[in-house]
Symmetry: C2
Subunit: 197 residues, 2 copies
């Protein structure tokens, strides 16, 4: 799974209360306590804490989403959060500006939409699910850093072999163009070209 293979890191809290995580790093663990966060950039995977210690994919957070707000109510996190790409988090609520009520309300609305997106990633043909996830992660930009094949598999409820085949075929149709660094292909970075489909 690779989910538990990365050690806890120093939190590197800058004066502006901002914290950064690299791909694969654990952000917080279900049951522990801490702050609520807004995800400013990156992609985070949320897993339910199963009795047997085995994590099960529950949800995804992308830029703009609120993470771990339940800690404000219950004093601990309901899910385990793991960075799937490099992430930048800041404590929430931000304090100044919009009223807390409006902020909560729009978070609730956004959470519902995000949930609907994720449900859609688990229905239909395999290729469409993977493409749907890639589009969600790309979010209008022209390049993406994808999670590992195994993480994509967990999110879409497919097997990593299937993900590998689908991504390879997207490369062959030039919908995904590997970004090479000094001639070597970093297997997660792609320029996207959905027009090729």
């Amino acid at each position: 799974m690779g989910l538990f293979s990365v050690a806890e890191r120093d939190t590197r809290l800058s004066p502006r209360r901002r914290s950064a995580y690299g791909a694969g790093e654990r952000i917080y663990h279900a049951g522990s306590d801490g702050l609520a966060w807004r995800l400013h950039c990156g992609v985070v995977r949320l897993d339910t804490a199963e009795p047997a210690g085995s994590a099960r994919f529950a949800s995804l957070a992308i830029a703009g989403d609120i993470l771990g707000c339940e800690t404000m109510l219950f004093g601990n996190y309901a899910f385990t959060a793991t960075a799937l790409t490099n992430c930048d988090l800041r404590p929430w609520p931000e304090g100044e500006g919009v009223s807390v009520g409006d902020s909560l309300l729009s978070s609730l609305a956004k959470a519902q939409n995000r949930a609907a997106d994720i449900v859609a990633l688990r229905g239909g043909q395999a290729a469409d699910r993977v493409l749907g996830l890639i589009k969600l992660l790309t979010d209008g930009a022209d390049r993406v850093v994808l999670p590992t094949r195994q993480d994509i598999a967990d999110i879409t409820d497919l097997r990593f072999e299937t993900i590998s085949r689908i991504i390879k075929s997207l490369e062959r149709t030039r919908a995904l163009l590997p970004i090479k660094i000094e001639g070597v292909h970093a297997t997660r970075s792609y320029a996207v070209n959905f027009a090729a489909l």
Copy 2:
């Protein structure tokens, strides 16, 4: 689908601002405006409004959940709501009692947990998904009224034929016992006996 086969009904608003819907009835339509509601009992299906007018399953609301809170922010509903069983709704927020902030916060937390439940219903073996949904709908009681086979299929991303086979096999193992009314079996009402599994 049966989703569009039932006419809009009179809203039957009692003096206490409570409204009831029968199985299959449309509660509100994506894009229209109205109140936010708390679902006091029953099960509601939420669908995204697709361009082509075709609905796609997005989420499920069960007793205690908040429905359509986005209308307070944007002035219209993001999803289309349909009663899957008999439902009882009341306007939200209730006004008295807990502060609006806490109520919103706990709704947000609850929405996240519900979303995780639904994601789980779309992964793994077909029989486990159907069983998971039935358990969610039963919620500790000893009997359930199930949605139609087609609705169960939409929720679990399976086909109604598959659902029919699975439910029949649950009947054969006596995990589900049809409740007969005057000798006739209403194909949606069951006494549950999960110990039989």
